[in-house]
Subunit: 646 residues, 2 copies
């Protein structure tokens, strides 16, 4: 009744285990090579190749070797068993072969035309990761680290612009790439390059959304090393962090967009359904991530002071921090939301609240742990990208499609940066100058997220073509743009060697001197953030951390018994140390006007101290790539006065 | 021609991904609970439950919930497809079901009687790890950490005794358990409890070898916390670390022991083959692990001084250290050796050489990283052990066998500790007192290694019975003996609150005062170690680290040009800092007589400084469990004088 044809490759249990070790060993070897090379390069201040570019290069070479040097394909492979009795693929399959039962586990669905791809040699097959590894293991630490190392002061200072670039810009980029690719696809159909299968507009949009995830890790590493202008750094870093989240949710929304009838016609209901999905998933993931971080903050806060001393056991503290942050990711995934987005906002919130509650030892431990995980995961992904060019067995390289994609990402980046910068400059006191815009245009590199989104589904031929093209775009942008960052900075005359804190203060000073008359207008546009800061500073920070004024002074008097219960005994003593909030309050364009009576300049000694501290930290972080996570706990003489005024 | 019967459980790709998240979330939740509980316990100095015991308890409860609360078994499951055309199970199977091709991956072979076990519910199945995860992911960090945190001075001081307990003791324990179990099995066959399948003597020996892996993590954590007598701590820690390696290789050797004819008869050829295997695998793994560590030491040494400054990039340094250590594991596995043993000796060698070359920042980073990984892996394993009692679906609990095992592990531990201690005391200057022997007898806990070895193969009914029994032994020993450690210490009147360094010095002083006449006799028995120390101190340390005398002074004069090339420029300046070697030289019973002209006492100020430093480190490590990894770089006035004498 059922027909079974053979599909056999070598099977030997011991061989099987050892093979796994060999694969991992290859990766280890590539990473070690990468580290040694980069080390040499860093030492000679050779900035044309970042570690990610190096990892990609070595991966490429290793892929070449594996492809052409290892043994020839198994002849027996690539045939399919047929089974008409089953209605769907079971998750576990028991098969009796020559009187011995074997257990098989469901891996994936593959389309018929890919079956031949399975004829490749066993080594190539082994070197192909399960795509879910990217989303479940490699990306979360990278994204969490990005959130955790966001320079909050500078980030909030440019929040409006960053949100505009990240949300509006990504949407523009997605649509522009989608339209251009649709044009190219039409042309390809016209000249007969595409025929038997269809490439819908939604497929083009899907490609647009995944190619909209920028990842300027190389550029940012160089920026950090050269201390490029902080505003530029923050704009680019903030945009790329949020843009990842937007692109991931956007890709998901487009992939589940299913118009009822003609797939090329516009279906308003399905479109709004997708928009609703996007908003729902984004908001849900945001809420999930933040709430886990708040729980962590609460636990660490309570244990730190109220009940026991967690800080005596930094290992437990670090473990708790790590597990709760990972739980944010897993809970979002389990709830059908986007774990990556949850983990991003979890990181941001952890840095804002929990970090303040950690013991000094745990602060360093968590920071170094996440740095290390970020470093490893990033290099593994870039290594794998290099490998995938030769070891992935279903590549479809279509020159016209690749050329189209290259044009599309340029045009899309340009129609994202320039018009939005123009619009933003209308509202910004501190304009985004032309050379910054050119640099942002130039920094539209594609990296880990675009790759991970593309590899998630390579079942159909359009998806395979997209994957191959996305891979080439990553290579091209990382090597060409990444390598050209330093010359480009010189050519665009962007200032380097800027101390972030001095810069911020200088700008704040010049603003407050020249723009005092604009304050009323600015205050209007920033009312949302003023309210948020007031709330955060007065209630959330005292509740969740040991900084900020004690709740007893911020809550109404009738709340005093509750407030006293909730206030950390340390808060009374440590209320002077809320350096971060002070900074935001004193220096932010958005919050400058928060409590107009509280215009107390930061004393000169303090600012010097903070600059020195920051400088020191920079040296320690020299090799970090994204580096620069700084929270200063500093005494600011202005703070208690303000509290008494508030 | 082929018959295929149905085996279907729910399959839905999205559901599939989310399920993975739910499982991990359960583990996260259990670990978080464990951390919070232990934190509370630690704070109240409640020492009856160590975190591993807590993790096991929570795992048990969660297993109970999953077993009896989650949905009832799928009705469709548990049937086997038959396929006579295949000759062996392919590693990947392509199946065409209702015109859609699914890919299945080979998981394992199962015996016919276990097929019914697959009728259990999907959730229980999902909660069952692949056993290779234990050996490839969870155990390596634990074992590496153990090697890396070995207190070298105390370890080498008791090396002879530790090696005796670890090698001879484990062999005795294995044989005794094997014999007793064989007796019980015979009895069970006699009364008719065992019938249709056979339980060979080799199976009993296999059980004996896996049950010989002791894991007194709970006991050691309490010892560390209470600062129990250092000799006892070192004997127990050293024994348990090496004993794991011995038990793993022993189990492997027994499992591949295959007598030609009657499996119950003794086959001398096969026996010597097994002994040869044991020695070969052990030596090979040792060599593999050590050589990777030496490579790491060389790289870090060269980069630190000769070519570039790796220490400026602690992240790269840590990454390299981590990757090379992991490569030791993977290379050993790929070469058919035992990765766990390789990683253990890699850890020991890294601590001896590489650690000295690391920058202070990297020293802390690597230490904390491995601590953290050890902490997580250990708790995951113990959590899983708790879960496995209810979620593993092929348990065979045989009361007689369990009772036999309980008797066997007691008798085996007793015939390991007491006779060997008696023999050792004949040769030891510093006797192992009776209460130490009782404590070591009491500390024969079984843990992660025994579990991992038992779960590796649960295909046949004897193996399932062994697994179930091993699991119960772990529960029993961890809870009963682990919980009873503190009372037992009091009852046996073992002194606590000992400072390890002061202790060592006091002992060394009392020895050198009273036993000066025995020196000549001692020197004879310790010649191997004297040679090794001389070689290590004069050649290896200067070549691989920045400590020790410069090679120019230790090599013969005609080697001077080579020596100058190989000597670190820092060695000339830093030669005073070889604190570790100095300690060994000044305090070890084995090396006391190394260069008899160099009997220069350590100045009093120095020893005070070192004690203070150690005390501080102890506080930071308070929660570590195995804790106590201390290398001091201290100036010792005696050292340059000695060099000039040498």
């Amino acid at each position: 009744m059922e027909k079974l044809k053979k599909y056999v490759s070598m099977k030997d249990e011991d061989h099987f285990y050892h093979q796994g070790a060999v694969e991992l060993l290859i990766f280890n070897f590539l990473l070690i090579l990468t580290i040694l090379t980069i080390w040499l390069f860093k030492n000679h201040r050779f900035r044309f190749l970042h570690e990610t570019g190096g990892a990609m290069l070595y991966g490429l070479l290793m892929g070449l070797i594996i492809r052409y040097v290892t043994k020839s394909p198994d002849v027996e492979s690539g045939t399919v068993y047929e089974c008409e009795e089953l209605k769907s693929g079971p998750s576990t399959l028991l098969i009796n072969i020559t009187n011995q039962v074997y257990e098989y586990q469901y891996k994936r669905e593959i389309s018929h035309h890919n079956v031949n791809g399975h004829q490749g040699n066993a080594m190539l097959q082994k070197m192909t990761f399960d795509p879910s590894i990217f989303f479940n293991i490699l990306l979360p630490p990278i994204i969490f680290h990005a959130g955790y190392s966001l320079k909050k002061r500078h980030f909030f200072r440019n929040l409006g612009s960053i949100l505009t670039y990240a949300f509006l810009g990504t949407a523009i980029s997605c649509i522009v790439i989608g339209l251009i690719m649709y044009g190219f696809v039409k042309a390809m159909v016209h000249i007969g390059q595409l025929k038997q299968w269809e490439f819908h507009f939604t497929d083009c949009l899907f490609f647009g959304s995944l190619m909209s995830a920028t990842d300027p890790v190389t550029v940012l590493a160089i920026f950090h090393e050269l201390n490029v202008d902080t505003d530029l750094y923050t704009l680019l870093f903030g945009e790329s962090v949020l843009n990842d989240a937007v692109a991931i949710v956007l890709t998901h929304s487009i992939s589940i967009y299913s118009p009822k009838e003609n797939p090329n016609a516009f279906d308003a209901a399905a479109f709004f359904q997708s928009v609703g999905n996007f908003l729902g998933i984004f908001a849900g993931s945001f809420a999930m991530g933040s709430s886990y971080a708040v729980v962590t903050a609460l636990i660490s806060f309570m244990h730190l002071t109220k009940f026991t001393k967690l800080c005596e056991f930094p290992m437990l503290e670090t473990g708790l921090f790590f597990l709760l942050s990972w739980s944010a990711f897993l809970s979002a995934e389990a709830a059908g939301l986007t774990g990556i987005v949850a983990v991003l906002f979890c990181g941001v919130t952890q840095a804002h609240y929990t970090y303040n509650n950690l013991s000094p030892d745990s602060k360093m431990r968590t920071k170094q742990l996440f740095e290390f995980m970020n470093f490893l995961a990033e290099n593994v992904i870039f290594c794998y990208m290099g490998l995938a060019l030769f070891t992935f067995q279903n590549h479809i390289f279509n020159p016209l499609f690749i050329f189209g994609a290259l044009v599309a990402i340029f045009v899309a980046r340009a129609s994202n940066i320039y018009p939005l910068s123009f619009l933003l400059n209308l509202g910004r006191k501190q304009k985004i100058p032309g050379n910054f815009q050119h640099m942002m245009m130039f920094s539209g590199l594609r990296g880990a997220i675009a790759f991970a989104l593309a590899i998630r589904d390579t079942g159909s031929q359009p998806k395979q073509m997209m994957f191959s093209t996305a891979l080439l775009m990553v290579f091209f942008t990382v090597w060409v743009f990444g390598g050209g960052t330093a010359p480009m900075l010189t050519w665009l005359q962007i200032r380097v060697g800027v101390d972030p804190d001095e810069d911020l203060k200088a700008k704040a000073a010049s603003q407050s001197a020249s723009d005092l008359d604009k304050n009323t207008a600015k205050a209007e546009s920033a009312w949302l953030f003023r309210i948020w800061y007031g709330f955060d500073h007065k209630y959330l920070k005292p509740l969740l951390t040991h900084t900020g004024p004690p709740l007893t002074s911020t809550l109404p008097e009738w709340c005093n018994p509750v407030a006293r219960l909730l206030t950390s005994p340390r808060a009374y003593g440590d209320q002077l140390k809320d350096g971060d909030t002070v900074y935001i309050i004193n220096n932010d364009e958005l919050t400058e006007n928060y409590e107009s009576s509280a215009h107390i300049p930061v004393p000169a000694q303090d600012s010097t101290a903070s600059i020195q501290a920051t400088g020191k930290e920079d040296i320690q972080e020299g090799d970090l790539g994204l580096g620069g996570y700084k929270l200063q706990l500093q005494h600011t003489a202005g703070q208690p006065q303000k509290n008494s005024l508030a």
